[in-house]
């Protein structure tokens, strides 16, 4: 599966990454080079192998739904780029 520049732009958008027009040729070539390695997967006969999501076949541990941690919101907001009144601030979305 070979990617063209347009597809690479789409993937970049999905990943919220910006690729400058001047860099697109190189980015596409690099990704195609990597994908040609990955495409070898298609040649492997995996028969009825079960997809392996966890190396030890463990299931996700669940715990009771109750608050265990102290409220550290101030410490966590102190390192945020921009906050106000207990909120994380971003550029205005709705006028």
């Amino acid at each position: 599966m070979s990617l063209d520049n347009k597809k690479v732009k789409e993937i970049a958008h999905l990943a919220r990454l910006n690729i400058e027009d001047s860099d697109i040729e190189q980015a596409t070539a690099e990704l195609n080079n990597i994908l040609s390695l990955m495409d070898k997967l298609g040649e492997i006969d995996t028969g009825d192998a079960e997809p392996m999501a966890h190396p030890l076949k463990m299931s996700q541990r669940l715990r009771e739904d109750k608050v265990l941690e102290d409220d550290l919101s101030e410490e966590f907001q102190a390192i945020a780029p921009k906050t106000g009144k207990g909120h994380f601030l971003v550029p205005t979305v709705i006028e």
Binding site: M1, L3, V8, I11, A12, L14, A15, R16, L17, N18, A27, E30, L31, N33, I34, L35, L37, M38, D39, K40, L41, G42, I44, T46, A49, E50, P51, M52, A53, H54, P55, L56, M58, Q60, R61, R63, L72, E75, F76, A78, I79, A80, P81, K82, F88, V90, P91, T92, V93
Partner: protein
């Protein structure tokens, strides 16, 4: 003093041959005089006050064996109040508000953190050249890479800037730099050490471990790092044995498997020679050598380079410039904030892996890539299962070559191909080690040992017996 192992420092502190403060000051001086770029942060003030505190505890008798032990912490572990960058511009200003469980465990023993070590950005790389803070030099030859991603940790231990260091291994990031720098590195079974507060790259593969001079030290430090953690839902609720107890067991009659796929084309002849010499050494200790086959190990590279980027593209979506980390200047709207914060904050290799992951997980491609890779992962794991019915441990090279020149591998695919011998272990969740086995030219070569799930005691025993018969682990690079 800096050539002392962890085991010897324990004795020295107990016998009051030196104080933790003296020891800490000595290592800090060495770190400050080093040009290897092994550290991103040196935490001098904190270290000296931790050392004073430790000395008080030792005097009062209120101490553990590791109280006052200096160490270097990979900059992927969150450390409260100290910059935790993961080698990225994205987190250059991130002062962690909490401690990783590993950090907490080492703090609880009153150990002394000398600083945070350099690494490939978000642990993505095999040469330490992907760090925002610049490459690390290999102490054996400053024109060579130290390996990666735990390159700073490996270089620090090899150059005796710290008695031991922490590392993490997602596809070889403890074993490969340990091999290239001539130290001992252990990647435990997946789930043995908590991942809480360890900045995530690929969550189903990431595992922390010790990087030390000797196997005995690795056993001592694993004792301190291992154990169940309720904060990590993939941490195993399994008791932790005393890993130092089995080191002296005889390995007479041990069955060692050599996978023929690990000795095929691409393996440097100098590396092969050292590995085969080590196998001979084991034979002379009474071990039985068997050729085995791991037929699917040749598929480890495409399987890993799908699974890991997929998990990374998901994990790294949290870096959006909103809650912490880098935010671009004057974003014109929310999309611009996301786009520019991520594009300016991440380095090239990280962006490449995020893109591969985003593509492989996107609509219409999931079955062909991610699902297929998970099936191949199963086959790789089954190969090991079959092999461990016949042998006790598997041995082979860690890396196809010794340390290569800084800047010499420019093509990402060539860099990925060099991970061929380490990736399968992570895909199968097995424990693996690298121990110093000799030199090719002037550069160290590591021997890889792979064990079955939860066989760390046996692996450490087998590796320790080698170090009882050889002294490669006592070699250190010449000082300038």
């Amino acid at each position: 003093m800096h050539n002392l192992t962890v085991a010897k420092i324990i004795k020295g502190l107990k016998n009051k041959d030196f104080s933790s403060f003296e020891l800490t000051q000595h290592y800090l001086d060495r770190i400050k005089n080093s040009d290897l770029n092994a550290f991103i942060s040196i935490t001098e003030d904190e270290a000296l006050s931790q050392a004073k505190e430790a000395d008080k505890k030792i005097t009062k008798g209120d101490s553990s064996i590791l109280t006052g032990m200096p160490y270097a912490h990979k900059d992927i572990f969150c450390t409260k109040g100290v910059k935790t960058s993961a080698g990225s511009k994205m987190l250059d200003s991130f002062i962690s508000p909490y401690d990783a469980t590993v950090t907490k465990k080492l703090n609880n023993e009153n150990m002394v953190m000398l600083g945070k070590t350099n690494m490939d950005e978000f642990a993505m790389g095999s040469s330490n050249e992907n760090s925002y803070f610049g490459p690390v030099q290999n102490p054996w030859d400053i024109n060579k890479v130290p390996g990666g991603s735990s390159g700073g940790s490996a270089a620090a231990v090899a150059a005796r800037l710290s008695p031991f260091a922490t590392g993490t291994d997602t596809g070889g990031s403890i074993r490969q730099p340990a091999s290239l720098c001539g130290i001992t590195g252990l990647k435990p079974t997946y789930g043995r050490i908590s991942r809480y507060g360890m900045i995530a790259y690929a969550s189903s593969l990431d595992q922390a471990g010790p990087m030390t001079q000797t196997v005995e030290d690795a056993a001592i430090i694993l004792n301190a790092m291992a154990g169940f953690d309720k904060h990590d839902s993939t941490s195993a609720n399994k008791s932790v044995p005393d890993y130092t107890q089995c080191l002296e067991n005889s390995i007479n009659g041990l069955k060692i498997g050599l996978p023929k796929e690990y000795f095929s084309e691409g393996l440097d002849s100098g590396v092969e020679k050292i590995v085969m010499q080590s196998i001979k050494e084991y034979e002379s200790m009474g071990a039985e050598i068997k050729e085995i086959s791991l037929p699917n190990s040749v598929h480890a590279i495409p399987a890993y380079y799908i699974v890991a980027p997929c998990e990374c593209s998901s994990n790294l979506s949290r870096f959006d410039g909103v809650r912490y980390g880098y935010r671009c200047k004057a974003p014109k709207d929310l999309n611009d904030l996301y786009l520019r914060s991520r594009s300016e904050g991440f380095g090239e290799e990280v962006k490449r892996r995020i893109m591969i992951g985003a593509y492989a997980l996107s609509a219409g491609y999931y079955d062909a890539y991610y699902l297929k890779a998970q099936k191949v992962r199963q086959l790789i794991s089954e190969d090991f299962k079959k092999a461990f019915n016949k042998v006790d441990v598997i041995m082979g090279p860690v890396s196809p070559t010794v340390a290569f020149d800084l800047g010499s591998v420019k093509d990402p695919v060539s860099m990925y191909l060099a991970d061929i011998y380490t990736l399968s272990v992570n895909l199968a969740g097995l424990p693996g080690m690298s121990i110093p086995a000799g030199f090719s030219g002037n550069l160290p070569v590591g021997l890889q040992l792979i064990g079955n799930h939860w066989s760390e005691e046996l692996l450490l025993n087998v590796a320790h017996q080698f170090q009882m018969r050889t002294d490669w682990h006592n070699n250190s690079p010449a000082e300038k």
